[in-house]
């Protein structure tokens, strides 16, 4: 069982991912913006972080930078984003994300894809 931090500002999309993660038997802790997500990352240890790119106040790229500073361990951070134009994935990967999953997600394969990307399957 993996412990996953999910930072996602859209409530319904958060519920969807959380439901899929928990249905697969993993633990999911959620935050709706970067600052509270970073607080959680400081306090607890996570196996995977799922991070939306467009977030209020601080975007996913900025959150990623801070995560790398506050987490003692190099936790796999996967972008889950609605940005699906050419170049979006490449930009994220070169910024240091470990994976990039575009929305709409495939419910049947989502958790499997997350685990594989994080190297935990």
């Amino acid at each position: 069982m993996a412990k996953i931090l999910l930072i996602e500002d859209n409530e319904m999309n958060m519920e969807l991912a959380k439901f899929l993660i928990e249905s697969a038997g993993h633990e999911c802790v959620t935050a709706m913006e970067g600052f509270s997500g970073l607080e959680l990352a400081k306090e607890q240890e996570f196996d995977i972080v799922l991070l939306d790119i467009q977030l209020p106040k601080m975007d996913g790229f900025a959150v990623l930078k801070q995560l790398r500073k506050v987490c003692a361990r190099r936790v796999p951070v996967i972008a889950v984003s609605s940005y699906a134009m050419a170049g979006d994935r490449e930009r994220a990967l070169s910024a240091g994300f470990d994976g990039y999953i575009t929305k709409p997600i495939k419910s049947a394969k989502f958790v499997q894809e997350v685990m594989a990307t994080a190297g935990l399957s």
């Binding site: 859209n10 999309n13 969807l16 899929l20 609605s82 134009m85 575009t102 419910s107």
Partner: protein, 477 residues
């Protein structure tokens, strides 16, 4: 001739022994003699005591000289005429210099007239202080002042208050005095206050011997028309730059809008598609048959909406020139096998064959993998959608420079009149009558993508005879 002196010999060339005893008429031209001019001179002197004239006389060698002649009647104590005293001066040299002066004067006058009547240039003289000394027709035409109005006025009258405030006219004369010449282009004022763009050359005029400054020659041309043309050109260029700048701004605004649009549309679709799939997967409890069928409708509609969004955004991006595609070596058979494998279930569902010919093996092309995949998926899925019986066959061929991928279906075909509309994109959306699900943008997008990769898509079809789409791509190594 009774007596002869050395002066007479020097002027006329005769020695005393040659001339004494001869009539003085030998000193006259044949023309004078034919008019009895010598005799008349004597008669005049006899009557009035003296005769004086200037005229041409003839030397011994036949050459002419200009003579001042005074003939005086000489009388004895009884007032009896005993002869004439004749004093002759050779004035040829003086006459010559008089003529030269006349000629020089005439030349100067001709030049003055020429300058005075020039209409295209204002040509005038300034005195050393800058007051107008002469004026010509061109000056009057260009500046509007008549000669009587302007002579004696300082030439600063042609300059704007601003130019005068910074003593520009005086500065020009200073430079002309120092350098010999001053040239510039600038705005000048006409009598009526209107501006004209002038080309001005001021030349210092000096006495050739003493070097004393006599004044300045000023030549002015009116280049307002040329200036206006230049200004208009510059204005047009500036407007074009501004427009270009706005276009770039608009274009980047459009890109920003497209990126956000894509994002905003996908965000709610994520919940719709995701939760619907959750239900279909039975993750939140089993569905009955009717619920399952209805959830499948939601899924189909949502997938369709997603492909619409993708096509619209892609096409908008291609049409705004912002689609950049890679040009790399691609294994065509790998891509084709992948696409065919993805679409096989759709063909199976419609009970159609989907065949990939052996000819497609070992072909490589140059292009962008995602774009090639997108085009092939579009063409093959179209073939499946618009065919009710038979199936779709994919085959390949090549020449020296290109690879041709043929997608042949046994479907309903496309009427020749509709074929030209097929690749038109947004235009086609409104006009085509489509029964099948599809964005109607797929072909337009595919064609543009193919062209961006230096390829093309062509069509051979007719109603009821099926369709063959040929994708042409650059051949790899």
């Amino acid at each position: 001739v009774r007596t002869w002196n050395a002066g007479a010999e020097r002027i006329k060339g005769y020695r005393a022994d040659e001339i004494i005893g001869k009539s003085f008429s030998v000193f006259y031209t044949p023309e004078s003699n034919s008019k009895n001019h010598p005799q008349r001179e004597l008669e005049h002197a006899k009557k009035f005591g003296v005769y004086e004239e200037e005229g041409w006389r003839v030397r011994k060698d036949g050459s002419l000289f200009w003579a001042d002649v005074v003939i005086t009647a000489v009388r004895d104590g009884n007032s009896e005429l005993i002869g004439f005293a004749k004093v002759t001066r050779d004035l040829t040299e003086r006459r010559k210099s008089d003529q030269e002066r006349d000629q020089a004067f005439k030349a100067a006058e001709t030049f003055r007239l020429m300058v005075a009547t020039v209409k295209d240039y204002a040509i005038f003289m300034l005195d050393p202080e800058g007051r107008v000394m002469t004026w010509n027709e061109g000056a009057q035409r260009i500046k509007g002042y008549s000669e009587s109005e302007i002579i004696g006025k300082h030439f600063s009258i042609f300059y704007s208050d601003e130019a005068n405030a910074r003593k520009h006219p005086q500065e020009e004369l200073k430079i002309a005095t120092k350098e010999g010449r001053y040239e510039e282009e600038g705005w000048r004022l006409r009598k009526d206050g209107s501006r004209f763009w002038a080309n001005v050359v001021i030349t210092a005029v000096r006495d050739t011997e003493t070097g004393e400054l006599l004044g300045f020659a000023k030549v002015t041309r009116d280049l307002t028309e040329r200036k206006r043309t230049e200004e208009e050109r510059e204005k047009a260029a500036s407007e074009l730059r501004q427009l270009n700048h706005e276009l770039i701004k608009a274009n980047s605004a459009k890109d920003y809008f497209l990126a956000n649009m894509s994002h905003e549309l996908r965000t709610p679709l994520n919940s719709i598609i995701g939760f619907n799939e959750v239900m279909l997967l039975g993750l939140s409890g089993p569905l009955n048959d009717t619920q399952r069928k209805q959830a499948q409708f939601i899924q189909r509609a949502a997938d369709h909406l997603l492909s619409l969004i993708n096509d619209i955004l892609d096409l908008a991006k291609v049409e705004s020139g912002n689609m950049s595609l890679a040009s790399i070596e691609l294994q065509l058979s790998t891509i084709l096998e992948d696409v065919v494998a993805t679409l096989k279930p759709l063909a199976d569902e419609r009970k159609l064959s989907l065949e990939l010919a052996e000819s497609c093996k070992n072909n490589s092309v140059r292009g962008d993998e995602r774009a090639v995949k997108q085009i092939l998926t579009n063409l093959i899925s179209n073939g499946i959608k618009f065919t009710d019986e038979g199936g779709v066959a994919v085959s390949c061929s090549s020449d020296d420079s290109h690879v041709f991928i043929q997608i042949k279906d046994t479907g309903i075909g496309i009427a020749r009149t509709d074929q030209s509309l097929l690749f038109k994109g947004f235009v086609q959306l409104a006009r085509a009558q489509r029964k099948q699900e599809g964005t109607g943008l797929g072909l337009a997008l595919s064609k543009r993508l193919a062209i961006l990769m230096n390829g093309d898509i062509s069509l051979e079809s007719d109603t009821g005879k099926g369709s063959t789409f040929t994708l042409k791509l650059l051949k790899g190594k």
